[in-house]
């Protein structure tokens, strides 16, 4: 539904040029919710603005619903944009228009007759739960309500695609939850394809099917959300995940961690497991079958949409060859094992 091929965006030229996007390839199939996560300045905003050509890529091809947008301009581009809805971090509602007239705006722009506009807008306001606020002005609404108006507005022209630019970043956690639930409903009911950018793992965790990681203008990792939360493949991915899960070894232990094993040292590992492994008593088996004791330093269970994910930081205690066997044993049972370091034991 959305396809970006070798898209690059450079601001300025010559030695002062800044590359905001570097050779980005992205494909979002119909009906999918795809999240792009990255730190600020990574190029998220530029990326999402390249999809509806608010920013024109310096290079590459953007197509939405089979139509190549990069080849369009003027009227043709404006018509293509009617099929792409967009919502923003700061809502961007017109302050001098009522809720009703804000939602009506895209239809007015398309030149729809008044009567038809009313028939289109009323059900939308009902769907976002604001049919009692029709004649109020945005200044009278809360942040969550404003974003609901913006969602209704984005859907008014019946788009195939919805772009969400940090849509929940200005909202409190509870409101974020309700807006995300609304987006999920829209995705299911209307089969709408959603591309969203965010810096919050919570957003990715609760509604995305697929996630891409952006860093310095390039997509560095792309994965199914369940896989990403179990085993991110890049260092940046692990950093996002660990920050989100707050799963770090105790501070006192971090200070004692050494990169390479010593004579009397034990590995400290981070274990991630999902699916059947969650309900298997692996730790006690490890003790029995490998003769390795396990000291659990931290553990938690997360629900990532319909999957359960177990996470643990543990020290494996035993002779070097035994602990090595233990790690192999865990990997054989489909656990993701990451050795964080080694701690020296006083004999």
């Amino acid at each position: 539904m959305i396809r970006l091929r070798t898209v690059s965006k450079t601001y300025g030229s010559g030695p002062s040029a800044v590359t905001a996007l570097n050779n980005v390839d992205l494909h979002v199939p119909k009906g999918q919710i795809h999240g792009v996560i990255g730190l600020s300045g990574a190029g998220k905003s530029t990326l999402i603005r390249c999809v509806n050509l608010l920013e024109r890529p310096t290079q590459g091809v953007v197509s939405v619903d089979g139509q190549e947008l990069t080849g369009l301009s003027g009227t043709a581009l404006n018509q293509a944009r009617h099929r792409i809805g967009m919502i923003f971090q700061h809502f961007n509602l017109l302050t001098n228009r009522t809720v009703f007239r804000n939602v009506a705006l895209p239809l007015e722009l398309m030149g729809m007759p008044r009567g038809e506009i009313r028939d289109r807008v009323d059900p939308l306001l009902k769907m976002v739960g604001l049919d009692d606020k029709t004649d109020q002005y945005p200044a009278q609404l809360s942040g969550g309500q404003k974003q609901r108006v913006a969602i209704a507005r984005a859907l008014a022209s019946r788009p195939k695609v919805l772009l969400c630019d940090e849509a929940t970043s200005a909202l409190d956690p509870q409101t974020t939850g309700s807006i995300l639930a609304l987006l999920r409903d829209i995705n299911r009911q209307l089969g709408l394809t959603i591309l969203l950018i965010t810096h919050e793992m919570e957003v990715v965790k609760s509604i995305c099917h697929c996630v891409s990681l952006i860093s310095a203008g390039a997509l560095v990792e792309e994965a199914d959300v369940g896989d990403f939360f179990t085993a991110p493949r890049t260092k940046l991915g692990r950093r996002f995940l660990n920050d989100f899960l707050e799963l770090e070894p105790p501070r006192a232990l971090i200070e004692r961690l050494e990169a390479s094993p010593g004579e009397h040292s034990h590995p400290v590992v981070r274990l991630a497991f999902s699916g059947d492994a969650v309900s298997t008593p692996l730790i006690s088996r490890l003790a029995r079958e490998c003769g390795v004791d396990v000291s659990i330093l931290q553990a938690k269970v997360e629900s990532i949409q319909d999957r359960t994910l177990g996470l643990m930081i543990a020290e494996l205690m035993g002779p070097a060859e035994k602990t090595r066997e233990a790690i192999e044993y865990l990997e054989d049972h489909n656990l993701n094992v990451e050795v964080l370091g080694h701690v020296q034991r006083d004999a």
């Binding site: 404006n78 018509q79 944009r81 923003f88 700061h90 961007n92 302050t95 772009l163």
Partner: protein
């Protein structure tokens, strides 16, 4: 005070109102579009056009940098060509309008600059043409700011019109100079000033009311 004197004051008040209204309306009709043009031709705006933007900017600045009293006499030939005379309220309205146009334009440009860029971006994401961005987003959103700009302009025009009066434009300024100053009549001077104060207060209150009514920020 004689009836004749009161009649003179009334007539002068109406003259001043006439000059302010005439030059105010024309300068709004020209200045608002010019202000919009100054804004939308800026780099990265909906009708970005650096060359046009810079040219308009220079012309506007020239208009604003000429002291009104000099502008008034400098364009006398032009005024004569336009209204046939260089004396009277219609003649005074010409330099007043010319001085007010760049003034309005810059104030309107400033009012538009207050609109968060995200609003324009949102409209563009919905497929708005530049013309639609101007008529559906920029002008309605800047309504309050534009009314403020026009109020400031009206008040400025009241004081400029007094200056115009001094060179044969008529109105309260003319009256104050001729009767109050040249003929040492402090009562006329005082009344002139009081009428001007009331007039300015009136414009300001009307402007504030319109801003309140039109803006829902």
């Amino acid at each position: 005070m004689s009836n004749a004197m009161l009649e003179l004051i009334l007539e002068a008040t109406l003259d001043t109102l006439y000059m302010v209204a005439l030059s105010g309306v024309i300068s709004a009709l020209v200045g608002i579009p010019l202000g919009v043009l100054l804004y939308v031709t800026r780099p990265r705006q909906v009708m970005a056009h650096p060359l046009l933007n810079r040219s308009l900017g220079i012309i506007t600045n020239i208009g604003r940098s000429i002291p009104f009293i000099i502008l008034m006499v400098a364009i006398i030939p032009f005024t004569r060509m336009l209204v046939g005379t260089s004396i009277g309220t219609n003649a005074a309205a010409v330099p007043l309008t010319i001085a007010a146009i760049p003034f309005v334009a810059r104030l309107v440009e400033g009012a538009l600059n207050e609109i968060p860029p995200g609003l324009v971006e949102a409209a563009q994401s919905m497929g708005a043409t530049p013309w639609q961005v101007i008529t559906k987003v920029l002008l309605p959103e800047a309504r309050g700011g534009i009314f403020t700009a026009l109020t400031v302009t009206a008040v400025t025009l009241v004081s400029y019109s007094a200056m115009a009066g001094a060179v044969g434009g008529g109105g309260l300024g003319d009256l104050g100079i001729r009767y109050g100053y040249n003929r040492f009549n402090p009562t006329v001077m005082l009344i002139t000033v009081v009428v001007l104060i009331v007039m300015v207060q009136g414009f300001q209150s009307l402007g504030d009311y319109l801003v309140r009514k039109s803006d829902h920020k």
